[in-house]
C-alpha cells in the first residue's frame, strides 16, 4: 500500500516505476576516529531488482552492515549515488529519509530489536502508527500480519515471553506490516539455532514467493546465501564478486 512503485518523480507520466529497486553507484563511506580513517565502503556499486533476494556476504569488518545501513538510509554516504526505486536517497534530508523508511522499508535485525515494553501486536503496529494510520485499523493490520507469520496466538505477549524464533517472526511481521518495497535484514538468523533459522528462512522465502517481497540480507551463513537469488561478496569495503548465476529464480509479480 505504501509501495514505492507508484513514485511520480522517476516516471513523470504517472506510470508505475519498473526499474531496479536499488541502484547504488560508486558509493564511498569512511569513519574517522581521532587519528585513523577507516574506509568502510570503497567505490561500491550495486543493483537490486524487484522481487529479488540478495545476500551480502563476506568476512567480519568487510563493510556489509555499513552497506546495508547506507542503502537503507540509516546512515549517510561520503560520495556516490543511491537511488531507491529511482528516488535519490542520498539527497534526502533526515526527515524525508525517516518518512521514506516508515512508509517504504522494513527492517529485520539480528537481535530482533523489538521494543521490550510493548506486546507483539503493539510492536508490529508501530510503523503504521508513526505513519498516521488510525489506531483501530493499525491493530487489524498488525493482527493480520502476525497471523501471516503464524503468531496471531501470541499477539499479546511481550518479547521476553517469546522464544528467539518467535521474536524474529514478530520482527518480520513488523518489517512487512506496511507492505514495504524492500526489507533489509541484517543477520536475521544470527541469533537463532539451526532449526529456528530454517523456519525463519522458509518464512522469508514464502513471503518472497507469494508476495514478491524484495529482501536484501546481510549474512555470514552460507545456508542463507544458498537461498538467495544472488550473492554479493565483499572484502575490505569493496564488492569482490557477484554470483554469476542466480541461486534461485527471482519472484515475479512484485
Amino acid at each position: 500500500m505504501f509501495g514505492i512503485g507508484r513514485r511520480k518523480k522517476s516516471e513523470p507520466d504517472g506510470a508505475p516505476y519498473t526499474g531496479p529497486i536499488v541502484e547504488a553507484r560508486s558509493i564511498n563511506k569512511s569513519y574517522r576516529t581521532e587519528e585513523v580513517v577507516v574506509h568502510a565502503l570503497r567505490d561500491v556499486s550495486l543493483t537490486v531488482e524487484r522481487g529479488e533476494i540478495v545476500a551480502i556476504m563476506g568476512p567480519s569488518g568487510c563493510g556489509k552492515t555499513t552497506l546495508l545501513n547506507v542503502l537503507s538510509g540509516l546512515d549517510s554516504i561520503d560520495s556516490g549515488e543511491i537511488l531507491i526505486a529511482g528516488e535519490p536517497l542520498h539527497k534526502m534530508g533526515d526527515g524525508r529519509r525517516t518518512e521514506y523508511r516508515a512508509k517504504s522499508m522494513g527492517f529485520i535485525f539480528q537481535s530482533f530489536n523489538l521494543m521490550p515494553v510493548l506486546s507483539s501486536v503493539e510492536n508490529v503496529e508501530l510503523p503504521l502508527l508513526v505513519s498516521g494510520v488510525p489506531v483501530d485499523r493499525a491493530r487489524k493490520m498488525a493482527l493480520a500480519t502476525l497471523d501471516q507469520v503464524g503468531l496471531a496466538h501470541r499477539a499479546n505477549h511481550r518479547p521476553n515471553q517469546l522464544s528467539g524464533g518467535q521474536q524474529q517472526r514478530v520482527a518480520i511481521a513488523r518489517a512487512l506490516v506496511n507492505s514495504p518495497a524492500i526489507v533489509w535484514a541484517d543477520e536475521p538468523t544470527g541469533n537463532l539455532d539451526s532449526d529456528t533459522s530454517r523456519e525463519v528462512l522458509d518464512l522469508l522465502l514464502g513471503l518472497n514467493r507469494e508476495n514478491g517481497q524484495t529482501f536484501v540480507i546481510v549474512t555470514h551463513d552460507p545456508g542463507v546465501g544458498s537461498l538467495a537469488n544472488r550473492i554479493v561478496n565483499m572484502k575490505d569495503g569493496r564488492i569482490v564478486a557477484y554470483s554469476e548465476e542466480p541461486q534461485r529464480e527471482a519472484a515475479v509479480g512484485a
Binding site: N113, M115, G132
Partner: protein, 1010 residues
C-alpha cells in the same frame, strides 16, 4: 552534644577511617575510583548537588534550633542570670493572675543553704552538686506610674512591672560572679534601680519618680539608675506580661508589699557554674531543696522551680524540630534520588565495569571502586550541603523574625531571634549528610556490582536470573514473621509505633511471598490499599493517637506509609490510570505513536516509575498538608471573626489599681475617639471562691506552671458582671440552656432581670481541655464565696456557653451574672473592661494609638478584633510561606530526580531509540515521546502527593483540630499553582535529555548486535 549526635558523628568517623584505610591498602582501586570524580565534572556536579539537599535541610533545621536556642539563652541571661531555681509557697494561680505571691516566714526556709543543698544532693545522687548562692527575696507584679516632674500627675503608667526586693549584702555574695547591679550602692528606702526595658516603656531616667501600687497603698520611689537587664535586674517570671523590673532593698519591698520584717515570698538559688552549665544540675538541686523543705510552711508545701532550665529549653519546644520533621520527607526523597543517580552512573559505565570484572577484578573490588568514588561525592556533598544549610537557616530566621514582628509591640518585648550557628550543629549535619549519602551509595554499589560480565561488555540488557534465591525467600518469610511479632507486641503492650509498623511490615512480607505464586498486580493492589487504609485509620487506635501527639516521628511514619501505599497502588495499576490516554490515541492518530511509547515505559518499568513517583509524592505530601493547614486555619478564623469578643469590635482594659474613671466622658471629650467609637459597655470581673470544690482537684493545664495548691484550698473563679447593653447584643453562643428559655438571647437577657441566675463559660463542660472545672450545666446550682467577707451566694445555672470556634478573643470569664448581682459582693475587688463598637470605616490602628495616648496614665491596653485577627493571619501566613519555601528547596530533589531518570533512560534505550528511528520515528517524535513520558510521571507523582497529602491533612484535621466549627478547606488555587509550578520545572529539566534522545542515530539499532 546528645547521645544521638555522638553516635552519628562516631559512625561517620568510623566509616571515614574504614574507607581511608581501605583506600590506602588498594591504591590501584583508589585511582580508578577517584579518577571519575575529577574527570567527569558535570557528573560530579549533578551527583554532589543532588546529594547535598538532605544535608542542607538537616543543617538548616539544626542551625534554626541553634538560633532559637540562642534567643532562649539571651532570655535566660537577661531575666535570670545567676538564678537557677526559685522557691515559692505553693498556691493556686489562675491564668494571668495578678494576685500577690503568698508570703512566708524567713525562719521556715533557713535550713536551705548552699551547704545543706550540697549535702542533700550527695545523699540523693551520690554526687555533690555545688550551689553558690541562696538569696532571700520579695517579688510581686504591681501597677506602676511614672510621675511628671514636680507634680503628682501621671505621665505614663503600666499595668504590671516586676518588683524585686533583696538584701544588698546578700546580693553581693550571690553566685559565682555576683550580679553587676550589686556593685552599685544599696538603693536604700526610697530609691530603686529600674531595668532599661522599663525605662523605655515609662520614659524613666535617673532621678525620675515612679509610683508603685502595692496591696497596702501607693509608694513613690526615685530612680537611682537605669540598669541593663542582667539576671536579678531583669528578673521577670516566665510568661509574664510585665513591662520590666524594679529592683529595690528588701525592706522597701516589705513596706510596699505589706510584709512583716521577717517575711519573704521567694528564695532564689544559684547553682555553681555559668548561665548554661549551672542549669544542668537543676533537677538534683530541685530534689534536694524539696526534701529540705518537706513539711515546712503553714499547711502547705513549697514549690521549687527549675526556672533557668525551663527557659533554656523553651518548654521542650524546638521550632527547628518541626522543620527537621517536615524535611524528613524531602530527605527520604533525596535518598531515592541518590540511589537513582548512582544506578545511572553504573549504567553509563557498564562496559567499563564489565571489562574491569573481565580482567580479574572481583565483585568486592568493583564495590570498592564505587564506594571510593561515592565517598568522595559524599564528602563534597556534605560540605556543600552544610554550607547551603547555613544559608537556608539564615533565610528561616529572617522569615520567622518577619512573622514574629507583627506581635512585637503587643508583647512589649524584643522577639528578634538572633542568627546563631553552633559549630557542633555543622559537624552533626555534615556527619549525618555524609552517612545518608554514603550508605545510599554503598547499598546501590552492592546491587550494581552484581552484573553479568558478558552483557556488561556488550552493553546488552541485563537478564533476570531464572532461579530465585532461597535467601530471598527466607528474608521475605522473615519480614512477615517480624512484622507479625511487632504487631502482636504493639497490640499487647499498647505501643503506638509497633501497632503501626508491625502490620505494615507483615503486609509487605505477605505480599512478597504471595507474589511468588500469584500474579503481582492483584496481590500488590490489595496490599497497597491495605497499607494506605491502615496508615490512614491507624489514628483510630488510642495508642497510635497518643504516640502521634507525643512525637513528630509518628506523623512522619504515618505520612510515609500513606504515600507508600498510594504510590504502590498507582504503580501496579498504571494501565487503569492511563486508560484515558488510549481513548485519546483513538481520537488523535497523529499522537498515537508518541503516546504508545510514552505510556509503555512507565507501565513496564514499575520499580523505576514507583521510585520517581515516590520522590515527587513524598515532597508534595508535606507541601499539601502545610497548605491545607493554612487554608483550614484561615477559614476557621474567617468563620469566627464575627463571633469574636461577643460581637464587639474592641476593648480597653486598665490595671486593677489604676482604674479608668469615666470612660464615656473621656471618650466624649476626645474628638478622635468620639467620632470612632459608636457605643460602649462596661464589664466588671473579680475573683471569688467556689467553696464546694477543692482546688487540688481542678489544676489547670493552661498557662504558666503554678504549683500544687495548698490542701483544703478551694477553687478560685472569675465572677463577671455583665450590663444590660451587653446582654441585649452579645453574639456569644450557648451550648446548653434550660428549656424555658426559647433562645440564647432570651437566656442572656434573663440574667439582667434576675440576679440569682448565672451562665457558665464553656470549661464547665467537664472535658478539662482548656481549664479544669467541675462539670455543671443548666439546672445545677453553684455557690460563690466572697474572699474578703466570706459571704456565700448561690446561683442557679441556666445555661453554659458553647466552646469557641478556633481562635477565640474573649473577655468573658468564669461565672457570668447580671449587674444586679454586684450588690451581693460589695467589697469584691473588680477590674473593668470597656467593650465598644466602632463606627464603620474606622482604622483600628489609629483608634488604638489614640486610646493608648488618652489612657496612658491608667496603663490601659486596647485590643481590636480586626487587628488581632489580622496579626494572627499575617503570622500564620508568613510562617506557612516559610515552611513552603523550605520545602520548595526539597522539591529540587523531585525535579533533579526526573532529569536524572530521563538522562538515564537515554543511555539505556539507545538501541531502542535507534530501532524506532529505523522503523520511521522522526526526531521530533522521539523528543516528544520523552517529554510526554516524563511529564506523565511527574504529573502522576504530583497528583499522588497532593491526593495523599489531602488524606494526611484530613487525618490531621480530624484528630488534631479540636474545634467543632472548623471546616476542612482544600486550597484549590494554591495547590493548582504549586502543582503546575513543580510540573513545569520538572519538564524544563527533561528537555535536554529529550533532545539528546532525538539525536540518537538510527544506526545505533544495528551497532550492538550480539
Amino acid at each position: 552534644m546528645g547521645p544521638f549526635s555522638i553516635t552519628v558523628l562516631g559512625i561517620a568517623l568510623l566509616v571515614t577511617l574504614i574507607v581511608l584505610f581501605s583506600m590506602l591498602r588498594r591504591p590501584a582501586l583508589r585511582r580508578i575510583g577517584l579518577r571519575s570524580v575529577g574527570r567527569r565534572k558535570w557528573n560530579t556536579l549533578l551527583v554532589v548537588v543532588g546529594s547535598m539537599v538532605g544535608t542542607a535541610l538537616i543543617a538548616g533545621s539544626l542551625v534554626l534550633n541553634d538560633s532559637t536556642g540562642r534567643f532562649q539563652y539571651r532570655q535566660a541571661e537577661k531575666t535570670l542570670g545567676e538564678i537557677d531555681e526559685t522557691v515559692q509557697f505553693a498556691s493556686q494561680r489562675l491564668p494571668n493572675d495578678t494576685r500577690p505571691i503568698p508570703l512566708f516566714d524567713a525562719s521556715t526556709v533557713e535550713g536551705v543553704t548552699p551547704d545543706a543543698i550540697r549535702e542533700r544532693t550527695l545523699l540523693l545522687r551520690e554526687e555533690a552538686v555545688e550551689v553558690d548562692g541562696v538569696l532571700r527575696a520579695l517579688t510581686q507584679e504591681t501597677p506602676a506610674e511614672a510621675l511628671e516632674a514636680g507634680s503628682e500627675n501621671v505621665a505614663l503608667a503600666s499595668p504590671a512591672v516586676t518588683v524585686v526586693g533583696v538584701d544588698w549584702g546578700e546580693l553581693r555574695r550571690f553566685g559565682q560572679e555576683p550580679p553587676a547591679v550589686s556593685l552599685r550602692p544599696d538603693p536604700g528606702e526610697d530609691r530603686v534601680y529600674v531595668s532599661d526595658r522599663l525605662a523605655r516603656a515609662l520614659e524613666l531616667e535617673q532621678g525620675s519618680r515612679l509610683r508603685l501600687r502595692g496591696p497596702r497603698g501607693a509608694h513613690i520611689f526615685t530612680v537611682a539608675e537605669v540598669v541593663p537587664e542582667q539576671g536579678i535586674s531583669g528578673y521577670v517570671s516566665r510568661f509574664s506580661s510585665s513591662e520590666g523590673t524594679v529592683l529595690m532593698d528588701i525592706d522597701a519591698a516589705r513596706t510596699l508589699l505589706g510584709a512583716s520584717p521577717s517575711q519573704l515570698n521567694t528564695l532564689l538559688i544559684s547553682n555553681a557554674g555559668d548561665v548554661v552549665s549551672g542549669a544542668e544540675n537543676s533537677p538534683a538541686v530541685v530534689d534536694a531543696t524539696q526534701q529540705l523543705l518537706e513539711g515546712k510552711g503553714p499547711g502547705g508545701g513549697f514549690q521549687v522551680s527549675q526556672v533557668k532550665k525551663d527557659t533554656l529549653e523553651g518548654g521542650g519546644f524546638q521550632i527547628g524540630d518541626i522543620f527537621l520533621m517536615i524535611s524528613s520527607f524531602a530527605i527520604l526523597a533525596g535518598i531515592l534520588l541518590i540511589i537513582n543517580i548512582y544506578t545511572m552512573l553504573a549504567e553509563e559505565r557498564k562496559g567499563e565495569m564489565g571489562i574491569l570484572r573481565a580482567v580479574a577484578l572481583k565483585r568486592g573490588g568493583l564495590v570498592r571502586v564505587f564506594v571510593y568514588e561515592g565517598y568522595a561525592y559524599s564528602v563534597l556533598a556534605s560540605l556543600l550541603g552544610t554550607l547551603v544549610g547555613v544559608g537556608v537557616a539564615a533565610g528561616l530566621v529572617w522569615g520567622l523574625n518577619r512573622a514574629a514582628a507583627v506581635f512585637a509591640d503587643l508583647f512589649n518585648a524584643d522577639l528578634t531571634i538572633p542568627f546563631y550557628v553552633r559549630p557542633q550543629s555543622l559537624v552533626i549535619a555534615a556527619s549525618a549528610g555524609l552517612l545518608i549519602t554514603f550508605l545510599s551509595v554503598f547499598f546501590t554499589s552492592l546491587r550494581i556490582s552484581r552484573l553479568n560480565i558478558v552483557t556488561a561488555i556488550r552493553d546488552l540488557p541485563e537478564q533476570r536470573p531464572l532461579r530465585r534465591s532461597v535467601l530471598r525467600l527466607a528474608l521475605q518469610a522473615l519480614l512477615l514473621c517480624v512484622g507479625l511479632l511487632l504487631a502482636v507486641a504493639g497490640f499487647t503492650l499498647e505501643n503506638g509505633y509497633l501497632m503501626l509498623i508491625g502490620p505494615v511490615l507483615a503486609l509487605f512480607g505477605l505480599g512478597l511471598l504471595l507474589s511468588r505464586v500469584l500474579p503481582p498486580r492483584p496481590v500488590w493492589t490489595l496490599l497497597s490499599a491495605g497499607v494506605l487504609g491502615y496508615a490512614y485509620f491507624a489514628n483510630e487506635l488510642e495508642p497510635v493517637r497518643r504516640a502521634n501527639e507525643e512525637s513528630p516521628a509518628m506523623f512522619f511514619l504515618e505520612g510515609f506509609f500513606i504515600v507508600l501505599g498510594a504510590v504502590l497502588l498507582v504503580t501496579f495499576n498504571l494501565g487503569v490510570v492511563f486508560a484515558g490516554l488510549r481513548a485519546l490515541m483513538r481520537r488523535m492518530p497523529g499522537l498515537a505513536s508518541i503516546l504508545r511509547i510514552a505510556v509503555a515505559y512507565p507501565s513496564s518499568r514499575r520499580a523505576r516509575t514507583g521510585f520517581t513517583l515516590a520522590m515527587f509524592a513524598l515532597i508534595l505530601y508535606i507541601v499539601t498538608i502545610s497548605s491545607i493547614f493554612n487554608s483550614t486555619q484561615s477559614a476557621a478564623t474567617e468563620r469566627t471573626r464575627n463571633n469574636q469578643l461577643s460581637g464587639y469590635d474592641g476593648f480597653t482594659q486598665s490595671g486593677p489599681v489604676t482604674p479608668i474613671q469615666n470612660f464615656g466622658g473621656r471618650v466624649e471629650d476626645n474628638p478622635v475617639l468620639r467620632d470612632a467609637i459608636e457605643d460602649y459597655t462596661e464589664l466588671r470581673a473579680g475573683q471569688v471562691e467556689l467553696p464546694e470544690y477543692d482546688a487540688a482537684q481542678y489544676q489547670t493545664p493552661f498557662g504558666p506552671p503554678t504549683g500544687t495548691p495548698a490542701p483544703g484550698a478551694k477553687l478560685l473563679e472569675y465572677l463577671t458582671f455583665v450590663p444590660a447593653g451587653y446582654l441585649a447584643s452579645t453574639t456569644d453562643e450557648l451550648g446548653e440552656r434550660l428549656p424555658e428559655h426559647d433562645s440564647d438571647r432570651e437566656a442572656w437577657e434573663a440574667l439582667g432581670r434576675d440576679p440569682s441566675l448565672a451562665i457558665l463559660t464553656f470549661p464547665y463542660n467537664g472535658d478539662r481541655e482548656f481549664l479544669a472545672r467541675p462539670k455543671l450545666g443548666p439546672g445545677d446550682s453553684i455557690v460563690l464565696r466572697d474572699p474578703v467577707t466570706g459571704k456565700k451566694v448561690e446561683k442557679k445555672v441556666i445555661a453554659r456557653m458553647a466552646p469557641p470556634s478556633g481562635f477565640a478573643l474573649g473577655v468573658i470569664n468564669g461565672v457570668i451574672v447580671g449587674e444586679g448581682a454586684r450588690e451581693e459582693f460589695p467589697s469584691l475587688n473588680t477590674q473593668s473592661t470597656f467593650l465598644f463598637h466602632l463606627q464603620g470605616g474606622v482604622d483600628p490602628v489609629a483608634v488604638n494609638r489614640e486610646l493608648k495616648r488618652e489612657f496612658a496614665a491608667n496603663g490601659a491596653q486596647s485590643f481590636f478584633v480586626e487587628d488581632i485577627i489580622g496579626r494572627l493571619e499575617a503570622f500564620t501566613g508568613t510562617f506557612i510561606r516559610i515552611v513552603q519555601a523550605f520545602l520548595a528547596f526539597g522539591l529540587i530533589v523531585g525535579v533533579a530526580g526526573l532529569a536524572v531518570i530521563s538522562a538515564r533512560a537515554v543511555h539505556e534505550r539507545r538501541r531502542e531509540i535507534g530501532t524506532l528511528r529505523a522503523v520511521g520515528f522522526p526526531r521530533q517524535d522521539i523528543r516528544w515521546q520523552f517529554i510526554v513520558e516524563s511529564s506523565l510521571v511527574a504529573l502522576l507523582g504530583i497528583l499522588i502527593g497532593i491526593a495523599s497529602g489531602t488524606l494526611g491533612g484530613y487525618n490531621l484535621f480530624r484528630f488534631a483540630v479540636d474545634n467543632p466549627d472548623a471546616r476542612f478547606v482544600f486550597p484549590w488555587v494554591e495547590m493548582t499553582l504549586i502543582g503546575l509550578g513543580v510540573w513545569v520545572a520538572s519538564l524544563a529539566f527533561t528537555v535536554v535529555p529529550a533532545i539528546r534522545a532525538s539525536q540518537v542515530a538510527p544506526v545505533e539499532a544495528l551497532r550492538y548486535q550480539g
